[in-house]
Symmetry: C3
Subunit: 514 residues, 3 copies
């Protein structure tokens, strides 16, 4: 019995094994084969991507190929694709020794998640009841990318502290939960959420925070030395920020209505983003000694305007309101970084590596609220009869504006609940004990002192800098300066004593600087 307890304790608390040589390939292959089987059964081309398109055109009185949805959405899709893989990926390279992991695991779980997202979203939203297949086209690909975005946000909270296998489990659950939550908000409640403030950002943010709370590491300070940025890693992350910032108008307009809907979404997002840049710089400067700006704030809070404009992107909020939304989101996001993140880490056991609570969760909630308020104030004088139906109410002619606003608010609550609630309930074992599952020692997560370190999962070749001292005018020492700070520097000085006053020998210094 005691023996059993011991081995049990060993199993849970023993030294961690980060060797993923068997588990990672196994999961990838099994999963990919499952995907192929499911795709073979369920997935077909959309009529607009099918070789019967010419016949379809004749049947539907479409006169030109340019009316194919492809030409409406492809530029936006490309931008969204860039945001997912390059924007998020590079934003995650900000840690000084976790750039490979940031961009690489982002790549892995995105490619993994989007296949599952195509299926899950297909089953929930667009299962063709005649032949039980899913027809995928441009809009499906965009939605799959959106779904993956939610999981990448969650990744941001756990960056550096989890193994690729844990990430894949997280993504698997995240995509599944996302599809359900999205189905409830968009198809049952019929709330409007063009740019996904609620569906993507609020959900993704709280999902990630809850995971991070489940995986709380009390001794994370042991890897404190690696939990910062270097000069160049900050520039890499800034490239990611700019990718996200520049393409955010496409994100918020990608699945908007053809014509004025997409056009308006771009304008609103453009303005909101511009305003959040100014307030971010302002608050960042205000919060630091001597007014020095912090790259962490600039890299993140400048994007809050895009997040907060998501739900109301297509709504006739008018340009100045877009600026107001941007101003507010920039302020709360930067204050979040200054005040909330340290507070949450200290008092709430939530270690949020990238500050997703500030960039996604809070501005997402703000965005949901903006959506509810603006829906309440919509009127036919502003929209025109046709416009109102089209832009806000999804053709529900009997809804009043107040009802629509209430539905929007309901959608927001559901997003928060599904983010926190479900993941938390998982921890408490109500559902399937994802909490326990994620903490299983077999996932290969790193020791506390090895967090934020690429060496754990990547072959990192340190740059060797050889220094040869050819003249030493003193007692030449036999120095062997051994490596100190885990891998980063190895200094070996070798020499021989010859004379007390004359240079005699050579000193060899190897420095791994990387």
């Amino acid at each position: 019995m005691g023996n059993c307890q011991d081995s049990c304790k060993n199993f849970w608390c023993g030294p961690k094994n980060t060797n993923v040589r068997i588990s990672l390939p196994a999961i990838c292959f099994i999963w990919q084969i499952a995907m192929i089987a499911l795709f073979a059964i369920f997935v077909r081309y959309d009529p607009e991507a099918d070789a019967h398109w010419t016949e379809y055109m004749h049947q539907n009185n479409i006169t030109s190929n340019i009316e194919n949805d492809f030409y409406y959405r492809y530029p936006s899709f490309q931008d969204v694709h860039v945001m997912i893989f390059m924007g998020f990926g590079l934003l995650f390279t900000f840690l000084k020794r976790y750039s490979f992991g940031g961009v690489g695991f982002n790549f892995l779980i995105s490619a993994f998640g989007l296949q599952w997202a195509l299926l899950m979203q297909g089953w929930f939203h667009s299962l063709d009841s005649t032949d039980w297949t899913i027809k995928i086209g441009m809009k499906s690909l965009i939605n799959a990318d959106f779904c993956v975005a939610g999981c990448l946000i969650a990744f941001g909270a756990c960056l550096g502290k989890v193994s690729p296998i844990q990430l894949m489990v997280m993504t698997l659950c995240g995509v599944s939960l996302f599809a359900v939550e999205e189905y409830v908000i968009l198809n049952l409640i019929h709330a409007k959420d063009t740019g996904g403030s609620m569906v993507i950002h609020t959900f993704g943010g709280y999902y990630g925070l809850t995971i991070s709370w489940i995986l709380y590491r009390p001794n994370l300070h042991q890897s404190k030395r690696l939990r910062g940025s270097s000069y160049h890693s900050d520039v890499f992350a800034m490239i990611g920020t700019l990718f996200l910032w520049v393409h955010w108008p496409s994100f918020n307009s990608a699945i908007g209505n053809h014509g004025d809907g997409q056009h308006r979404a771009v304008i609103n997002t453009y303005l909101s983003l511009a305003a959040s840049v100014l307030t971010t710089f302002a608050v960042s400067s205000l919060s630091a000694k001597r007014g020095k700006l912090s790259m962490v704030h600039i890299q993140n809070a400048t994007l809050a305007g895009g997040v907060a404009m998501g739900t109301a992107a297509e709504i006739m909020v008018s340009p100045y309101s877009a600026l107001v939304v941007g101003v507010c989101s920039g302020i709360i996001s930067t204050f979040g970084f200054v005040v909330l993140t340290p507070f949450m880490e200290k008092h709430m056991k939530i270690q949020d590596t990238c500050g997703i609570h500030n960039l996604h969760a809070m501005p997402g909630v703000l965005g949901g609220a903006v959506g509810a308020v603006t829906a309440a104030f919509a009127s036919t004088s502003v929209y025109g009869q046709e416009g109102l139906m089209h832009a806000i109410m999804h053709g529900f002619v009997d809804r009043t504006m107040g009802m629509q606003a209430a539905h929007q608010a309901a959608g927001l609550c559901i997003a928060i609940i599904s983010g926190i609630g479900e993941a938390r309930s998982l921890k408490q074992g109500y559902l399937f004990s994802l909490g326990c599952i994620l903490r299983l020692p077999c996932w290969g997560d790193p020791e506390d002192e090895n967090c934020f370190d690429d060496e754990v999962y990547w072959e990192v070749t340190a740059t060797k800098v050889h220094i040869l001292a050819t003249r030493l005018c003193c007692w030449t020492p036999m120095l062997i300066i051994n490596k100190l700070c885990r891998r980063s520097v190895l200094c070996q000085c070798e020499g021989k004593i010859r004379s007390q006053t004359r240079f005699t020998e050579r000193m060899l210094l190897h420095m791994h600087i990387g």
Copy 2:
């Protein structure tokens, strides 16, 4: 009196205070609130972005959503947006310790300037006389980005030598001047300038040079150590160059005429850019010992082809002429870097950090001249009657080609004059003494010895490299090698003397390498 003079001297010449903790947030907030107020009063959605679009379609016999200007211009807009924020931003990261400032301040003043540009350009170009509002749509956003580009060019000349507050003042004035000058050239003279060789590049270039002349620092050599690139900062800047180079066809075609106009602008720019790459490599190699290429030339002069093709982008110059324009611009731009920039710094008191005279001002003038010449040679045989009206003459049926050419040349002169003249007159106190204003000590600009240094305005966390010497076979010294060269390296060697012949103690070396 003497006391007054002293305090006056102290005010102007005393030690500079780079603390922007109050001033920067104050300006950002005040400005942003002013923008919100003005937007609330003046700015509305364009009919193509308004919810009444469906009704507008019926009224104007538009049969399909794809005819919305959004679908004509959105891909080009996105590319221009990428150029402004990522292209310019990364190009400015080339200095070894000013990457944060380059990309960060570029971000700040772009987001700041585009809001003001939407208003200024709206008032001058598209104020609706019925309700005194500005209707913004896709084209307004592109034009705002263009306007910001002019100010970013000016930023290039001052890179590293000014405070963010000075930059905002510069941008404020630059955008205002730009809108006036653009109004004169495009709406009064009716010159053609699709890609902005005159309006954007010539103006921006000379505006920046004049500012740089106003802010001349005789002792700039004190920060010489930081006025160069490092290996990786050069690669970052090269990414910026490539962003600009690859998307320049979109820049020159973004506000072109629908159909053949945009199509032709892309082809001309594509060819001109390709030709300028070859001549840049040629002249760069020719001008250096052993033919070694210089990254500065490759990063900048390769883009001159795009600048020089701006005015004539839509004109039927024929493909080979586009190559000729590219060849010439590549040559003059590279020669500018080799010969002119050092000359101007030494003899004309113009310190042009990024060489904007070579990349923007000179090729811009060339582009304006090309526009005038090609307008003079335009004929109905080449264009067809309809094409000629459309492509060159803006519907002015009574203009001869010679007259159009003269108007183009006049436009060029105005661009140069507004760049140099207005800014210079500002210095001399004719207008509002911008010169004095910009030199006010309260702006927080850095000391001569701290130019080109991110530490002044940014929190820079140096990378610590710890070296622990575990064995020292000599008199172990108590070394405290203190930091020398401002922040870059701190070397601390700590040890204790034990014996003259045996290793005894540990040596700790901290190196901040960043």
Copy 3:
């Protein structure tokens, strides 16, 4: 006689002169002038880019400007352009000291090659027989970029071992061969190859490998120290990878049929790429000790899915087959890096710097095979009568599916043969002895020990790090640690002896770290 032999030997085997100050500019200028002359004679605007477009619209019953091919293809063109200049360019920066060369020479030969490609492809594919001119439009620009891609693949095999002049000669021959091979495959055999698996990747891969075999360097190990990556150069290369990965759907759809063709090509490529990411991670982890992932694999093999989907991109392969293609290509590509590249270097005298055999040649062959197989299984039930003609058979109504499959296979063989055969025959002197030509000592290629080093062709300013030791509590030595490992580090310690027990003097340490 002996003297003659000696001088002959000296000519071939003497020390290499890497001074390209005369030869590089000469070639650039001569070539550019030749291009201008040829463009003046042959190249005109396409009707869709000509000022007569309005008249052309009337004649052809085109009702809207949006029907201009520009609007169908411009977003894809931009993405392809980004891939060529940024994707390939940054992917080539992975070597620790060859980033300038990778991205810079990529820039040079692309700009050089695309002009020649426009002419060669024009002469072969679209010479207008009425006036003997080439009409260039959007599709010509895309095809020119494609043609350049073939040569850049070949550059990948020779990266770091050749001079810019050799690269230009290689590109000149490569573009010419490409145009011929493409003409045979697409216009004579009428095989289908939308995304260029055969025409671009197979050809480019084997062409590059053969060149690499011709230029075999037995003593390349002398520059082994530089033949690796550094931490940040790997991140730069990863950005290149992501550019390629994200935009590959545009690459495979850029010259696809309007409407469903482009739409389907994007979906197929998107899925295939996603699958190859998973298998690349799996095999990479499987092949390393402790399952550590290798950046080389992630940077390259993840793209194999796009290569392998090229030929069949527009074919109705159905989504699950696209996943299967991605899985297979990811596996063979990663295995190639693990097993084949070392084998080829050791036993076949092929030094393939970037592993293009694994990324382009093998997946290209796979793609060609997939094209042949899927063509064989095409049927009217899947495509519809119209769709079948359109998507696969180019209007050849009398071809059976088996015949089309045979033609596809024939196309693949020709691509391989033109890659290997022609280049190899060149070596053996059958054609024009390109082999000898490329090995002429006048091209300025680097010595074996200077390969992979930017210092040969670029002005590299090393970063100086000054360390000043202000206190030394021991015999202060006069240390002059001279530079050891070629340029990378120079350490100079200067001091003066004062006392054996007290600190006395300052130590100056200069370190060039770059």
